[in-house]
Symmetry: D2
């Protein structure tokens, strides 16, 4: 039995606790928050939990094997480091850390101590993303041409991060999971209407060595909620609309057949317009599956899709976006 | 009665001819195309038209007052110049010209000769754009925060232009019409999958001096057709979905009330979520209204919204996009 | 403080208990179910609840003031009667009773004992129905022409009732609430594919004395979920789409202006096509508001929209549907 | 070469003429309308057409082999009879005739004279209906449970027919084509708000001997346009949404598996929720295909899907609806 402590009891923390409860191998023992109020709330439902307001009471506790860190990103490094130093496995809310350097240091520390890191890239465990990954891995789409994602709504302003640090960890972790090609450069454009350097909408382009491009539209000021990703491939194209209750994924047997011959104008273009197919998507709660995976990862080891390295790759993209944003979208090399 | 000649009888030319026919003050006399086939087609419907395969027969004809140039963009300058030099008013398919220099030269020539130029920014005459312009001019949205447009579908490949030159003239002319602020810089990202330097998808960001940003998503490789523009303002937000048969425009009484006080974290954020309103949009054919305006412009003068200067402003943006595209989205200053 | 007992802990019961908990004036003391399992589940969350498997332990308990009856409809009468006879107010799951006679008897009994009956027509307390009622009462639509509702999906088969008894209580209670005119006749068509006399889809027409008609499409075998109601009036028309997350209600300034003159063919028909308006809908949980109303009703009396009489009117329609169904849709007079 | 005359030049007539023009084997020679105005219009496009205002000039003309009758339904019989008596094949706008008796008489007359009748059930030639027919014939859906169609919008009032005679010919002809089972009874409910006995909305139920039901919702007073048909089968379910530009047809691998054992309550119900499939639908103009079929039918004979018998079956349903409407939806036996 893995004895876990949860640090951070805001919006997401209670979901973590609820799901830890459902998993056989994990038992939540302690819970911590800077404020008393959420602790009171949570013990109404789970009266046996020990509560603390100082995270060190959890990260250093003898009866704790793993710590879930569900706090603002700028606190991740300090708490995670303390947990690892005291021999605890960690489950860290996304984004993993506030800087690349922090992430690298935590990974090295965990390696040294033989501890596990899981970054909470929950979306990777949704039925939709699992199905898309399955389709892409089976080469259903063929060679990928582009990945184009829109994630906009009337958003909750974050006080410590801009719209990219708020929304992009979802999309970057998904892109990182689905696309095996490596990004080589990033460009980000944005604007801050209300608070300096706190962009409330932003546009990110990711370049790859292959003939592939990714683009992201993030916006906290949209009157309508859009969660739509288009992926174009040589054989088929895919639209993932996460707002749809059913038919989240549609695969189109549409495309362009182009034969390139010699000469500039000597292209033979043919359009294909075929059937559309919308695969059934599993409805199992993503967080449940993720937490089960965390438990299994601690006990049995192996590889997971959202380890520290995955977290680091996302933070690298976020950091590069920041550098680009400050320079009118300057191209930032990733490698 | 204005006697007109139409040069170019491809996809769009016959629509011009049909609409010229309906306007009282204009009579189409001549029509020209490099190929005989479309000329034969058109005279089946309009047997009295004179047909030519050399455009000079139209631009130099004594019985012609105005010339409509509905040919590929790289031919506009040559034909337009010939028409103006021979004292004809011109109606030019968008984009106005292939370069800024060409546009400036044609405008100067027309001014000198006291001739009129209209650029075929048809969209400005649609019920939807007229309604949006009316709402924005009445300050319904309040101070503008952003303009965000997506225009994607499985597109017809153009052999001489990339996706920006193909699709952006629509959106740039609309943005130019609706937003009175002046753009100061442009950045464009894109990728060409099939033909070198012929981007089939591209993302454009336009910066303004004011606290305003515009963004455009152009894509010839999308399995679904999207024609959606979001505009966020301080008071209200607007969504224009041109695919919708009815309810093309929705105005949301949604927004963010933010009081900025001193200190970095001292913001008071309040969300507003109110009613939505979808104004009736006039269904009159845009091209009809445009052609009537052209006739009136020639006869009575005055100002129009799609004169040579408007055409030039769009070409400036297009040219800047090209420069940016070649440099991984480098920021190109406009002024 | 009203001390309440809840009988029936299946799908809906726990929602009742949760909402009773949130209302200041009500305290749930006892809970009853035929099966031990749901009782165990519920006491995990609410450990202080007394549990019973025999409903009489609740209906006859001295420490109980009000009983919520959340059991299958064929048991309502027996349990409700016992509760009323023992001086308890009752909150009864819809449909109120299995027959008109039962409903009338319970109402008479409550009147005699000076006890309150509330029938759980939850939908009446949703933001959408409250807004529609407000619009209709303000005569926004003008004289009503029709009420047309579709409620279909891949449904849960009920073992004791057909699709009309399952789904129609929602729509009949809403129609009864919104339309003040009285129905005079009913016709119902249906078909049972799997179990004799258990129709899995059905169509109901309700006639009114006024020039008004209502129609309902109920279906347990639809691959898609539709919850759509159209209401046409002389001035405006309304569409309520309950599947929509936002924009549930749309009011169209569309209609037909008809001047009837003499002679059969002497009609002057003019169509109006104006703006559309989608009012903001309150998101407060309907059941919360309903339970608060129940508490207030017991304490302060007055009139409520879902009393025993409202329950009876719905049962009358259901009973008439049954008679019609058995006779190929024969018209059944209601008065 | 079949020499054709077209009688009736209102809304639909010019489409017939245009399509006749495209078919190699047919030549339109004469056109007739009671009014001079549409005749003038049509000869502007087709100057060689002979024009008449008396239909007899067409039905009795020696140079005419086939007559298209595109006039109001109450004139079909008289004109068709005259055409057949004079040895002309006929193409008759739907509905075929105003009464069953008329249809039977025309069929008998054509048989006697060895002439062909085609009724203009255009919808049968659309890509959507052809695809649905193909799927149903291939038993994709399995045993059919129901056919449920909604055809509503803000409609054009007809002066001579009610909403059923206006809209139902579409749906009845489609149902008749797709479902091989024979209808045994009809019930229709409706209401007339503006002109006596001219129902502006109506609901029709069709009963079959098999365990199958069909239902139709017709409405001229809907603020929104809906053209949606649901078909439920034992294996799969289908939704046809004719408003959709793409994805008109969706086939759902959803259903109910029910094992009926002994006893009333002894059903084992299992729901299936699988993939969805949206087949590509051919976009060829339906009327073109229909007119080609007419030409082929005259020349080569054989069987067609919209002969006089098909027209008669639709008229039988329409007539039965009328009888039912007058009696509050009384069940009218068809056989």
């Amino acid at each position: 039995m893995i004895r876990a402590g949860v640090i951070g009891c805001g919006y997401w923390g209670p979901n973590i606790i609820r799901n830890f409860h459902y998993v056989d191998n994990i038992e939540v023992i302690s819970v911590c928050d800077k404020n008393e109020k959420p602790l009171k709330e949570i013990t109404r439902t789970y009266p046996s939990l020990k509560t603390f307001t100082d995270y060190r009471e959890v990260t250093t506790a003898k009866d704790i094997d793993a710590v879930a860190i569900i706090t603002p990103v700028n606190t991740h490094y300090e708490i995670a480091k303390s947990a690892l130093e005291n021999g605890k496995h960690i489950f860290v809310e996304k984004p993993f850390t506030a800087t690349v350097r922090e992430a690298e240091e935590l990974i090295a520390l965990a390696d040294k101590k033989n501890l596990k890191i899981m970054v909470d890239h929950t979306f990777l465990f949704t039925g939709a993303v699992r199905k898309i990954k399955e389709l892409v891995d089976a080469n259903e789409l063929g060679e990928l041409y582009y990945y184009d994602s829109t994630r906009v709504n009337l958003g909750l302003f974050q006080y410590d991060v801009n719209v990219i640090w708020d929304l992009a960890p979802h999309d970057f972790s998904i892109m990182d999971h689905i696309i095996t090609a490596e990004p080589i450069g990033v460009s980000a454009h944005g604007i801050a209407h209300f608070k300096k350097e706190c962009e409330d909408l932003a546009y990110v382009t990711v370049y790859f060595e292959e003939n592939l491009i990714a683009h992201f539209n993030f916006n906290w000021l949209s009157p309508v909620k859009i969660r739509k990703t288009l992926m174009g491939g040589k054989n088929k194209m895919l639209v993932w609309d996460d707002i749809e209750a059913d038919e989240k994924i549609k695969v189109y047997d549409k495309g362009v057949n182009i034969e390139s011959r010699e000469g500039l104008y000597d292209l033979l273009v043919e359009y294909r317009s075929g059937d559309m197919f919308s695969p059934r998507v599993d409805h199992k709660e993503a967080l449940r599956l993720e937490v089960e995976t965390f438990s299994d990862y601690i006990v049995n080891g192996g590889d997971i899709i959202n380890d520290g390295q995955a977290g680091l790759r996302v933070v690298k993209l976020l950091e590069a976006c920041g550098a680009s944003l400050k320079n009118n979208g300057k191209y930032i090399k990733l490698k």
